[in-house]
Symmetry: C2
Subunit: 218 residues, 2 copies
């Protein structure tokens, strides 16, 4: 289905409408169907090799939120938001994870595992045996930021407020969430919901460098 | 303006429609108005502190493309795509850049520079004087990946094909683009345009881990 004039308009409006929400209305919750769509926006986001080296923890329990709040400078969003997503990424890419992904390709596409041997090998060579492995933690964190981008734009299109937050202690998050011995490590969080009405929150003019400052065509 | 049923439908379709395009039709070019909207999707993307530690080089000259192709394993997208964006990020965050941003906030919002002193100081403390500075290059690369996410989802909504590509030699790109002595460093590229008709390219079923594998609610 081709893009329509309405789609273009909605994209433009969403881009200009969204901003980092500082105060959510705790009484307003994201509807289940919208939350399902937001989950899909992350799940269907692209990643290098399609590997999806990410895991998303949705922290809804008030007691858990209270602990996470202590580990994120008590920023009000953590307690007030409707949904809180902790984006975690693979601390290390190993053969086990690659094989899990290759098995999912085989199952979902209905192709023999053997036919994916070369694809598997290219991932092992690039991500485990090659020089990229030295920076593999940062590589996986960057992939999680693609999913973050998808989530934030998708939320804006649904007119759901959000705030991406890096201001937290990843190690404390890992400890609170019991991730220390496992494959995943905290990267950042995104809080979502609906901004408090009547506040001046986030309604300041969006500040961006101009097109000619940011883009250069050669 | 609230989100409409059409908006939701378009988002869902876009998420499922997009995939990494291997072969573009060199004869089909992105229209100027769409390209302007895609530039805006990157320019208006969020970043930590709103700092926008990124610079986007659009490589359109065939001779330049030929050089970049050599530095990216001669993947066909680099020559065949309508638009090629090199995402670069700040190699180092310094006071000069923070001051440039603070000046833009002052100008665009019409507020005195003095009133932004505390905001400026919080950025200097976090990004230059604090422990985060040790990983500042990776921090700025992650920000660029948010913009990448916005670009890829926006393109899908306009039904413009794209391929995000990490398979390139960043140092060679920096040399070719003359970035070695400057503040920006190559992070990744995104090629955009329209896929070749009739090919099987990218029409394999999208493979993703299931919702219950990727999400965990607590």
């Amino acid at each position: 289905m081709p893009a329509t004039v309405e789609n273009r308009k909605n994209l433009s409006e969403a881009l200009n409408w969204r901003n980092a929400t500082k105060h959510f209305d705790p009484a307003r919750k994201i509807k289940d169907e919208d939350w399902a769509q937001l989950r899909d926006s992350m799940r269907l986001a692209p990643s290098s090799f399609g590997l999806q080296p990410w895991h998303f923890i949705v922290a809804q329990d008030p007691a858990l939120r209270a602990l996470l709040s202590e580990a994120s400078w008590r920023q009000p969003q953590v307690l007030e938001c409707s949904h809180l997503v902790v984006l975690t990424s693979l601390k290390n890419v190993d053969v086990t994870f690659i094989d899990r992904y290759v098995a999912s390709v085989s199952t979902q596409r209905g192709v023999a595992l053997d036919s994916l041997a070369q694809y598997r090998e290219s991932m092992v060579e690039s991500l485990i045996e090659g020089p990229r492995h030295l920076g593999i933690l940062e590589w996986s964190r960057r992939q999680a930021y693609i999913a973050m981008g998808f989530l934030l734009l998708a939320a804006a299109e649904l007119r759901i407020d959000a705030c991406p937050m890096e201001g937290l202690q990843p190690q404390a998050f890992d400890r609170i969430l019991g991730l220390e011995q496992g494959p995943w490590g905290t990267v950042a969080i995104v809080t979502l919901g609906f901004r408090q009405a009547g506040g001046t929150d986030g309604r300041a003019l969006k500040v961006r460098f101009g097109d000619a400052e940011v883009f250069e065509t050669r």
